[in-house]
């Protein structure tokens, strides 16, 4: 299999109904740097059909035996990607270098991510780039209060585009920004006016891009540190949206990689639906380089090394965004698994 960074990146554009996905997508497609992108949409609707590769999916989902909603295979998406891939291999379509998938407004993005990770052909040719979520500056707060999908779309995002900032009150934008920073501190917030955003910033920099991954990790850590310090100073007990909690676990001692793998696979087996995001930088026993982990619900991307630590701090730092799971319990559990590994090493 090719190195992960050399696979074709797939970007997911999601966002609640009327939050400006299609406007953003149209703007993106007109950008010269996206001339080499293929696009998959649910509805042709207003998306620019003049773009060379826009394909429609017919929503067709298969729920796996586990019954977990996030482990749903989107057959339509799988078929559409594989068909486009075959055409690309045969030279029937221009050689696209990235793919953008637009979800419906009510979609939970998790089945899309699960589908990308569950098909052997897709896994060998594509990797997840960034999840881009649009949130409406006028209605975003209300939508997040009323619709769980909207909260989930923001929670799993790598980039959040705040749309309609030109017609929203300044106070509303500030309140929305504060809410999003608490909900998903490591996501980058980008404001759009009439769909105008820095497209290169949206698509070029992602965690698996060798040129930008170091900077991306530094941004995660800085955002979470800021969030943590603000939390401690303000004692804001309402910082999280009802059931969603965001926290960082820090471990002074180097972690046992095998124990960590056992622990995380077991956690995701039991609670994957509730672990919206887990990402972090690990100090692993016997490994010089920092190890980056990145997961969305049941899907964990291949771990990778950074060339160097982003700062003098050598502790493992793991950010969790979870739905109704206590920080103390997760911390105690991971520490117990790591202690079991130490006991095993001593006994061996």
């Amino acid at each position: 299999m090719a190195a992960y960074s050399r696979l074709t990146p797939l970007f997911i554009v999601t966002g609640f109904l009327g939050s400006g996905k299609t406007t953003l997508l149209n703007r993106m497609l007109r950008h010269p740097s996206l001339k080499d992108a293929a696009v998959l949409v649910n509805e042709f609707g207003d998306v620019g059909l003049d773009h060379f590769l826009v394909e429609k999916m017919d929503e067709n989902t298969v729920l796996l035996e586990s019954g977990c909603l996030c482990c749903t295979i989107r057959d339509d998406l799988k078929d559409a990607i594989i068909e486009l891939n075959s055409k690309r291999e045969r030279g029937e379509v221009p050689y696209y270098k990235r793919m953008i998938i637009e979800t419906t407004g009510l979609a939970d993005p998790s089945p899309i991510i699960f589908t990308l990770n569950s098909d052997i052909i897709i896994k060998h040719h594509y990797r997840l780039g960034s999840i881009i979520t649009t949130v409406d500056a006028v209605n975003g707060l209300k939508q997040m209060k009323r619709h769980a999908e909207s909260v989930k779309q923001a929670s799993v995002a790598d980039r959040i585009v705040i749309s309609k900032t030109d017609i929203a009150e300044a106070g509303d934008i500030e309140r929305l920004r504060a809410k999003l920073e608490r909900l998903n501190p490591s996501a980058e917030l980008i404001e759009a006016v009439n769909g105008d955003v820095d497209v290169k910033r949206l698509l070029r920099a992602d965690i698996y891009d060798a040129r930008t991954k170091g900077a991306e990790v530094r941004r995660w850590l800085a955002a979470e540190e800021k969030n943590d310090s603000e939390h401690h100073h303000s004692h804001d007990v309402n910082r999280h949206d009802e059931h969603i909690r965001t926290f960082t676990l820090t471990f002074d001692e180097a972690l046992d990689w095998t124990a960590f793998g056992i622990w995380l696979t077991m956690l995701l087996h039991a609670h994957g639906e509730k672990v919206l995001r887990v990402k972090g930088i690990l100090n692993v026993k016997g490994v010089e380089a920092p190890v980056i982990i990145n997961g969305v619900q049941h899907v964990v991307h291949p771990p990778m090394h950074l060339k160097a630590w982003p700062d003098d701090d050598r502790r493992s730092r793991i950010v969790f965004i979870v739905d109704d799971i206590g920080q103390d319990l997760i911390e105690r559990s991971l520490a117990a698994f790591n202690a079991a590994a130490a006991a095993d090493a001593a006994a061996a």
Binding site: I262, H269, V287, H301, A336, A339
Partner: protein, 107 residues
């Protein structure tokens, strides 16, 4: 594929692909074997809570056995947890206080 038992090579699960799986090949040779043995020993500390035991099979898959003699071949950790749960009728949950207590008492 193993020429003798026609087993397809698994090993692509992230937990067995090494700490730099995005850019490098998975560990091989002695390192891989030592890691597999370490994994089996650690998993068995957990599965004691479920009355099951894991062993390596051909350095490629694992065999999960229950105390009542049920045997399953599993390829990766997610399969271990799913099967152990089925066999034992106990949730495979790292947040289970009973499991955490057992781990803290196991020398």
């Amino acid at each position: 594929m193993c020429a003798f038992c026609a087993l397809l090579s698994g090993g692509s699960h992230w937990s067995e692909a090494g700490t730099d799986a995005a850019e490098s090949d998975a560990p091989s040779g002695r390192d891989r074997l030592m890691e597999r043995h370490h994994r089996v020993r650690l998993v068995n500390r957990i599965l004691a809570h479920h009355g099951c035991k894991l062993s390596d099979w051909n350095n490629n898959s694992y065999i999960l056995r229950s105390q009542r003699g049920q045997t399953s071949i599993v390829d990766s950790l997610p399969q271990v947890w799913a099967r152990a749960e089925e066999i034992s009728k106990k949730p495979a949950d790292p947040l289970d206080p009973g499991l955490l207590e057992r781990l803290s008492k196991t020398p």
